[in-house]
């Protein structure tokens, strides 16, 4: 029998053979109009026929019947309007005759359209039934025939379709070639050239993109209730609640969601909007601003579906940057090119006039290590600056940008992976008096930030002159839409203004991915600074770099959180290592800022010793970090910290995908209430918890069970560690919920995340957790031992905290 199968393929198959299984009876196959491939109408061992499998997976929608089939060469299309989308086509018979026509379901076959008495719209039957073309239109190959044909599985079909996206000529045989199913190539320390660099990172970016796409597209949620509102800009906003979990991707401002209405009260509708609100301590609602107000069924409130819209933009920009780095030798200087690839290059010192005063106008005076970092970055084409928590990284960066601008003629490009970090830096640079523009993604223009007034789209509104543009803008703001000719004119005028503003700027600030914005495409930036660069993947970092880098400053701290990589396969291949980290491994010594101004000296002790070889000095005295007038029973009055031992049970949260711990939640509430009563303001307190389930539970629990006014608890920020990176609070309370031995997000295992968690607090920190469970992990064992030695590992009621006598094993030697 195997021979028989072999023989089947030994013959050269005709062009019209099914690209999956090889069947080639002209009555059984159809051609895809888009890619011109032929497929049969047999299912093999999948849930739909081969042709439907192809159309769905490739998102192709039109077909033609074979010329030698019973109907001859026939393009399937609506008799009336010519629509060729087979997913909306169907047959409709004449009332009195055995005549049929193909009509699209909407609008041609709709009751109202068919005034002709000859036709019976109720008899409309779709062309595709049970995921197969109607078998009397395209025959199903005989069972015998199907068994003799190639037995292709759904997995193989999937892979073949993926291959076709890269190589249109790929065949089934290519599936067996090595490489298709293998692990991706590991990232290297050094690369021969830009091509090798692209060849390794390109596939990783694609892998992450595919994963992200799959994840987003699988997140559709139905039965959504919607609350409608209208924003200040007159755009319609939809508010609703969706289930969230830890492992799914995070919903972020600016993400796109699609709402669909499935109810009966309105004709089917779908519309896309940008996320302008995510679940927070005020409400669990998600808010999206609709792109257009037209046709929004705002009288309906239930029966909606939410889809996550995947965007390839950021991945496309990374791929473009990799390509440019490989082929365009003018995209970075030769020095930068070789340095980034890890080649040996002779040191270069730039000839430049060093400023007399290193501190920039309106920014704090710099300390010694900060001055050194500024001086070094002005003199070298490539510098790494390591800024441990609270060491004035942003001020140092802003100062460097100030001097770079004054030394060079062109504008300086300033980037960071996250919008928050970009905003913080933008604000500081603006203070020095430089002309700064914050370039936002179009999808984020509606989101408010402290530097909104510096955003390009807002600066345009405040530009002098340009009365025609302003008039059109006003009209657009008032009515929501412009006529198409007005819209065209509006866009043209706006583009010209954007160009004018960007060209006049001293500094342009945007996210790394934002640097790939077409509006910057024709700019060259010789001086580029990237803040929080350890949080970007390499290709992400390359997006700004390839815009002309001759002098590059990477600021970051490889001891804090790295980039978020969702695809485990890509992460395993080294995709989650940042450029900053690799350059450090290559032996480029980062300039470390050494004085921290944030934490009470007692709080900085453990992080300094454990993460920074004890090099972190304190720029603040204990006295300056005493909470005046706050009466709190610290177990050791001179040490505003403790580990609150708690044996509470963890449980699966309501969503089924996360965890919560009621005992810890109640302790967190008690602590919070105590602090509030003793005079601390809600905005001074931050509650950190790794689990989405616990976050949502804590928010609810505190508001309903706290003895004080619910509004007070509402103003307390409860969030993940990641959400706190780059920021600080006076008091941090952390709820560990559980040990994380099996779960995916690796929160408690990652030393860098623990470092971030421990270094957010200025005045005090309290960790609530189960020491017995946590001490099994070497990292936590170190921390617990430190707390124990300091007599701040405690248990019991808040008014009577006692040292915990819990025993745990001595920590194993840990290689950091």
């Amino acid at each position: 029998e195997e021979d028989e199968e072999d023989q089947y393929y030994a013959k050269d198959l005709p062009d019209h053979a099914c690209k999956y299984c090889g069947i080639h009876d002209p009555g059984c196959v159809v051609q895809c109009n888009v890619c011109k491939r032929w497929f049969c109408n047999g299912r093999g061992n999948t849930s739909g026929s081969h042709v439907i499998n192809h159309l769905v997976r490739a998102k192709h929608k039109e077909v033609t019947l074979h010329k030698d089939g019973p109907l001859g060469e026939t393009v399937l299309e609506c008799y009336s309007c010519g629509c060729r989308n087979v997913f909306v086509l169907g047959f409709i018979p004449a009332k009195a005759d055995s005549v049929v026509v193909l009509l699209c379901r909407q609008p041609c076959a709709a009751q109202s359209s068919l005034k002709d008495m000859n036709w019976d719209p109720e008899q409309w039957k779709p062309l595709i039934n049970d995921r197969t073309f109607l078998t009397w239109l395209v025959k199903v190959p005989q069972e015998q025939e199907q068994l003799r044909a190639r037995q292709i599985t759904a997995q193989q079909i999937n892979k073949l379709e993926e291959l076709w996206k890269e190589n249109v000529d790929a065949t089934f045989q290519d599936l067996e070639k090595p490489g298709v199913d293998e692990e991706p190539q590991q990232v290297l320390l050094r690369y021969e050239d830009g091509y090798q660099y692209q060849n390794i990172f390109g596939p990783l970016v694609k892998m992450e993109a595919d994963y992200d796409k799959k994840l987003k597209e699988s997140q559709t949620q139905d039965n959504i209730e919607v609350r409608w509102d209208i924003g200040l800009n007159k755009k319609i906003i939809a508010y609703f609640t969706i289930a969230k979990s830890d492992t799914d991707m995070r919903l972020m401002h600016g993400d796109e969601l699609r709402l669909r209405y499935l109810g009966e009260l309105h004709k089917p509708w779908s519309g896309v909007g940008h996320v302008i609100k995510i679940p927070d301590n005020y409400s669990e609602e998600v808010g999206i601003e609709m792109k257009t107000n037209l046709g929004v069924p705002s009288e309906c409130t239930s029966n909606f579906v939410v889809d996550f819209v995947w965007k390839s933009t950021s991945f496309d920009r990374m791929q473009a940057a990799l390509r440019k780095f490989a082929v365009d030798e003018t995209c970075v200087s030769a020095y930068i090119y070789h340095k980034l690839l890890g080649h040996e290059v002779e040191d270069v010192i730039l000839r430049c006039q060093l400023p007399k005063h290193f501190s920039a106008p309106n920014l704090p005076e710099l300390n010694r290590s900060q001055v050194y970092a500024v001086k070094h970055s002005l003199q070298r084409p490539l510098s790494l600056i390591q800024g441990p928590p609270g060491t004035g990284k942003t001020v140092t960066s802003a100062t460097i940008v100030y001097h770079l601008m004054r030394q060079s003629n062109g504008p300086v490009l300033v980037c960071a992976p996250s919008n928050i970090a970009v905003d913080q830096l933008t604000e500081k640079i603006h203070r020095t008096g430089l002309k700064v523009i914050r370039l936002c993604a179009k999808s984020r223009e509606a989101i408010n930030s402290p530097v909104s007034f510096l955003a390009l789209h807002n600066q345009i509104r405040n530009m002098e002159g340009h009365s025609e543009l302003h008039k059109l803008q006003q009209l657009k703001d008032e009515t929501g839409e412009l006529s198409s000719s007005d819209e065209k004119r509006y866009r043209m005028l706006k583009k010209a203004c954007e160009k004018e503003l960007l060209e006049a700027a001293d500094v342009i600030c945007c996210t790394c991915v934002g640097a790939g914005d077409p509006r910057l495409a024709r700019f060259k930036f010789h001086s580029i600074l990237i803040d929080e660069s350890m949080q970007a993947t390499e290709p992400e970092c390359m997006v700004p770099v390839v815009l002309g880098a001759k002098q590059l400053v990477l600021v970051g701290d490889h001891c804090q959180l790295g980039p978020v990589v969702m695809c485990k396969k890509a992460a395993r291949a080294g995709f989650s290592q940042s450029l900053f980290e690799r350059l450090v491994v290559l032996g480029i010594r980062p300039l470390r800022l050494e004085v921290q101004y944030r934490m009470h000296p007692q709080l900085s002790k453990f992080p300094s010793n454990f993460f920074y070889e004890g090099s972190l000095q304190n720029g603040v005295y204990a006295d300056e970090r005493k909470m005046e007038g706050v009466d709190f029973p610290w177990p050791q009055p001179d040490k505003p910290m403790f580990f609150y031992a708690c044996q509470g049970q963890e449980e699966i949260a309501g969503s089924g995908t996360s965890y919560l711990n009621r005992t810890e939640a109640s302790l967190v509430e008690k602590l919070t209430t105590r602090f509030l009563k003793s005079g601390l303001k809600p905005e001074q307190i931050g509650v950190i918890t790794p689990y989405e389930g616990q976050r949502a539970y804590l928010v609810q629990y505190m508001q309903y069970n706290g003895s004080l006014h619910a509004k007070l608890y509402q103003e307390i920020e409860v969030a993940s560690v990641d959400a706190f990176q780059g920021r600080e609070k006076d008091l941090i309370i952390m709820s560990c919920v559980r040990s994380n031995e099996h779960q995916g997000i690796g929160f408690l295992n990652d030393p860098r995340r623990l470092n971030v968690a421990l270094t957010r607090a200025r005045y005090g920190i309290i960790i609530v957790g189960n020491p017995k469970v946590l001490s099994k992990q070497p990292l936590w064992n170190h921390l617990l031992t430190f707390y124990k030695e300091n007599k701040v590992l405690v248990e019991g009621p808040l008014n009577n905290l006692k040292e915990s006598m819990i025993q745990f094993s001595k920590p194993r030697k840990l290689v950091n």
């Binding site: 026939t74 989308n85 005759d97 055995s98 049929v100 041609c108 002709d116 995921r131 078998t135 599985t153």
Partner: protein, 113 residues
């Protein structure tokens, strides 16, 4: 190997089914949002209609809703259009299909009248 081909469930197949449902509903929605002006009258030429069957372009056999007992099919005419020119193609529809069943029911009803 001689077994009949049957569905082998797997994640890839599940994904396909989900994607199928999505493409279907998306396509429908898209149609609702497009402004399409349908042709309101779709004329069946007299020569195709019931009585007058002697037309050269179409073999007589196509036009007779003749039931071929052995093949268990019934002949229909699929009317298509190339520009403004109508075309007619013979279509064998299984007796058990909705299309054929409806036609038979209708004929039965007419006879009963």
């Amino acid at each position: 190997v001689t077994d009949i081909p049957r569905v082998v469930p797997c994640p890839e197949d599940d994904d396909f089914m989900t994607a199928f449902d999505r493409i279907l509903s998306e396509s429908m929605l898209q149609r609702n949002q497009e402004s399409v002006k349908p042709q309101t009258d779709i004329v069946i030429p007299m020569n195709i209609k019931g009585g007058n069957k002697k037309v050269q372009t179409i073999p007589t056999a196509f036009l007779e809703p003749k039931i071929e007992e052995q093949k268990n099919t019934i002949n229909f005419v699929l009317m298509t259009r190339k520009g403004n020119k109508q075309q007619f193609k013979s279509l064998e529809v299984p007796l058990m299909s909705d299309l054929a069943q409806n036609l038979k029911d209708r004929e039965k009803a007419e006879r009963a009248e």
